[in-house]
């Protein structure tokens, strides 16, 4: 006969010295662990509750401007800094870590309407209602913390245009920048005092300009005739124009999928489009209750942040119909501009109450250095929460947000109105011949027409 019995020697399973690590044996057999799903569910519930306990997204406000903040710009080569321009012509460079002003650039006579930084991060371009485009020197990263050098606060150059400018944007890879003013879009070079090129389509004023991150020669503009126009610098005429039912305030291109862009519209929604096929929107992002003023994509291309006239900042998934997060404060008034930081961890909002506010992109994220074990635990909690997020108890906790009363009421009102309109449409359809009233998808019915 052959006999064998389990025999374990204690040395194999205990440590030799007290400064050794304890030994761990693993057996992943599911039979050893009973009721795995119930345990995971309890962990998901606890993870959701802890999420809410640690959700403190507001980091700080940057105070200093004397008038509303109208525009902001990120420096692509320096994570810690952000530029902001206000309605009284003052431009400030902020250090996000200390939340203090590093440089103050004064020179504009009227409101600063647009700010952008050149590709190499050395030159700041600003434009304003005083019909000027000014170029400023950006201090080096090492020189950011040093005292103000008065010679750096004067502009390198100042170019005068024919009418007040409303937006400016720099190519992602190149030397040109575009300004929007009056009813034309001007293309400038750093060293020329006159625009290199001018585009015009129709007589409506152009409000905002954005260059495409992938194709340096393509840019999109929005106009007061409720249009979104796409231009190609290599041709001499504009490419496509899309007219919607309401005006678009701002556009942001998806940095990871450069053919897609999202437009922040006056009718409280954001519309994502594929620039190659503008017949219908890819996705409609609905959640704001008042006009959406500004939009910016995260560098991961998976999320974008919007700031709206209803005093809130919302973060959406790139393909999600509803927001995943909303930020609001009693002191924050109308939000005019938002930016996602270049490391995808922070969101900066500039608002009517002269403050810039710094928020976390993920409200319950632990900042600072995280140990590998902590990181693994966070990842596990995230994964187990996502596995059970559709169950009612967990969903209720994850979904819960405190909204200011006016926004909550406005949301209910909008929903009631939309339901009533839908009911009416259904009834009209029920009383008409079948087929005489085709259903229009939301992604299409906000587009009036498309022009080549």
């Amino acid at each position: 006969m052959r006999v064998k019995v389990i025999s374990r020697s204690t040395d194999e399973f205990t440590r030799e010295r007290s400064n050794d690590l304890q030994r761990v044996s693993r057996n992943y057999d599911p039979n050893l662990r009973t009721q795995e799903k119930a345990v995971e569910y309890v962990r998901a519930l606890n993870a959701a509750k802890l999420d809410k306990v640690f959700a403190r997204p507001f980091i700080g406000a940057m105070d200093g401007h004397l008038d509303a903040v109208s525009c902001m710009a990120k420096n692509p080569s320096h994570l810690k800094g952000i530029f902001s321009g206000s309605m009284d012509g003052e431009i400030r460079l902020w250090d996000l870590a200390t939340r203090k002003t590093v440089r103050q650039y004064s020179g504009h006579q009227g409101a600063v309407r647009g700010l952008t930084v050149s590709t190499d991060g050395r030159v700041l371009v600003s434009c304003g209602t005083d019909c000027t485009v000014r170029l400023w020197r950006v201090p080096l990263a090492s020189g950011m913390d040093s005292d103000e050098d008065s010679s750096d606060n004067k502009s390198i150059a100042s170019y005068v245009g024919s009418n007040g400018f409303s937006a400016v944007d720099h190519q992602w890879e190149g030397d040109l920048f575009a300004t929007a003013g009056g009813s034309q879009v001007d293309i400038w070079d750093h060293s020329r005092s006159q625009p290199v090129n001018t585009f015009e389509w129709g007589s409506s004023s152009v409000f905002s300009v954005r260059f495409n991150p992938g194709e340096p020669n393509i840019l999109a503009t929005t106009g007061s005739d409720r249009s979104i126009t796409i231009y190609d610098l290599r041709t001499s005429s504009p490419a496509i124009k899309l007219i919607m039912q309401t005006k678009t305030n701002s556009i942001a291109w998806n940095p990871m999928e450069p053919m897609n862009f999202t437009a922040a519209n006056e009718n409280c929604n954001c519309y994502s489009f594929d620039a190659r096929n503008m017949k219908e929107a890819k996705c409609v992002h609905k959640d704001h209750v008042s006009a959406v003023m500004d939009i910016d994509y995260s560098p991961t291309g998976r999320e974008f942040v919007t700031g709206s006239y209803d005093r809130t900042v919302r973060i959406f998934q790139y393909n999600g119909g509803h927001s995943r997060e909303i930020y609001h404060t009693k002191r924050m008034q109308r939000v005019f501009c938002v930016k996602f930081s270049c490391d995808a961890s922070y969101v900066i909002s500039g608002s009517d109450d002269t403050n810039l506010r710094l928020w976390k992109a993920k409200a319950s994220e632990q900042l600072g250095v995280i140990l590998p074990r902590e990181r693994k635990k966070h990842e596990y909690m995230e994964a187990v929460k996502n596995r059970y997020k559709h169950l009612p108890e967990v969903k209720r906790i994850l979904r819960h947000r405190h909204l200011p009363k006016p926004i909550y009421k406005a949301g209910i009102l909008r929903r009631t109105m939309a339901d009533a309109a839908k009911k009416k449409e259904d009834r009209v359809r029920a009383h008409s011949t079948p087929g005489s009233m085709p259903r229009k998808s939301v992604r299409k019915n906000r587009i009036v027409r498309e022009i080549e």
């Binding site: 006969m1 052959r2 019995v5 030994r23 044996s25 693993r26 599911p30 569910y41 309890v42 011949t433």
Partner: protein, 518 residues
Amino acid sequence: MEILDFSDELEVKVKKYQRGEAANLEVLKDKKLKGQLADREELFKKSANAAAKAEKWLMQTEAGRLEADGIEKTWRFDQHAIAKEVDVASRKNQFDLILPDLGPYTLDYTASGRYMVAAGRKGHVALIDLHTMKPIKDMQVRETVRDVVFLHNELFFAAAQKKYTYIYNQAGAELHCLKEHGSALKLQFLKNHFLLSSINKFGHLHYQDITTGQMIGNYRSGLGRSDVLQVNPYNSVLCSGHAGGTVSMWKPTSAAPLVKMLCHRGPVTAISFHPNGHLMATAGMDKKIKIWDLRKYEAIQMLPGHAKSLDFSQKGLLATSTGSFIQVLATSDSQDYSRYMIHTMAKGYQINKVLFRPYEDVLGIGHSNGLSSVLVPGSGEPNFDSWVANPYETSKQRSEKEVRVLLDKLPPESIILDPTNIGTLSIKKKKEKRTKQDLEEEKEAAVAAVKNVHLKKKTKGRSKPSKMARKKQEGIEQAKRSFVEKNEGGGANKKQKRITEMSDLPVALLPFASRKTS
């Protein structure tokens, strides 16, 4: 050939880690959801493969086995023969503690298999560390002790004494006196839920949460006195066996049992559950030991013999004991349980309880003259997981584990018969619309039924042939009429008819056209 075998083995292992079949994604119409679920399934496959491959390196210890050569049978080998072939350390696990005065002994092991608590009926309670074979605490409670269980670790145990149930700590200090349980006959501890359950001499079940001290459930079984209580480790459902031969399964949140099965023709004497949750072994006074499949509630095997105590091991071996005789049954490839090993004790010994020791090839026996322990090769799981149960735990690891297990404590509502149902959709069955064919068939069947009815012959000229024929016709028309009224398609046909008739009217007036013209 070898390569094939290896991949087959891998297949079997991967199946074990996959925890069920992949979902059928063909029926989904939502493309986004389909893509997301397909990604998930890929991930599950990958992780199952990785776990199967890692098994080779992670499984340090080999399982035990007992194989007979040629025409020998495995149950011919007794403990002496096995002891000769085995190493010294394992021979330590075979012992006999002779304690003749203090009544039949019952025992319990901790989940890691390192500590054992034994209690004699006359009040002797001992806590023993089986690695060092030293008694940690030896005490006399001076009362009848009917049952002992460990709570979540070796620091606490509960004893069902004459009138009440008491919780003691490792030093022997009495921590709690649980009066509500009454005179409990059997105790069971639900590990994941921290519930101490008992059945008392009136047949009342109690569930108490030992972390808060709250009594969660207190139910009358309604089936009289019962001293058979076992918890199914797969789904934490409590089972009690009754004098009428029924086995009832309970959960803490309902007063009525989940399941009542008629298992035996006489009182049920013992129950035990296989760790995979599908098999249950029951023994009754009708000299039968039955193996039940709990998915179908059918007996798949019947073995002859009495059994005062039954226990399944981690590897699926079944130990039964009657009088002074123990037999261990094992499945071979035929999926049926057959005799694997036998152990007979001296004639006067009455065996009270058999219990397999976790993670060791050892069977613990509590009998009228003390405690014994015998080797059963192949019964224990050789490789433990430190984060589930660690026999080599330090006190720091033990306190960390306690905190972690408390964080993962399950609510008592989570006890359901099928624990894999959590997180799944509950689909409401839609009433299927009967097709036209179905209706036709039903109509014909009803008409045929009416035709077959035999009309009673009446006297005094009331059963004239013409009258009977008319009555039959009326019956058939009645059956057909009920179908015409029920027919849903009739309404739509009517409407269509109306519209086609009105097609000469302009479109705008169609909704307002009167129905009289139809």
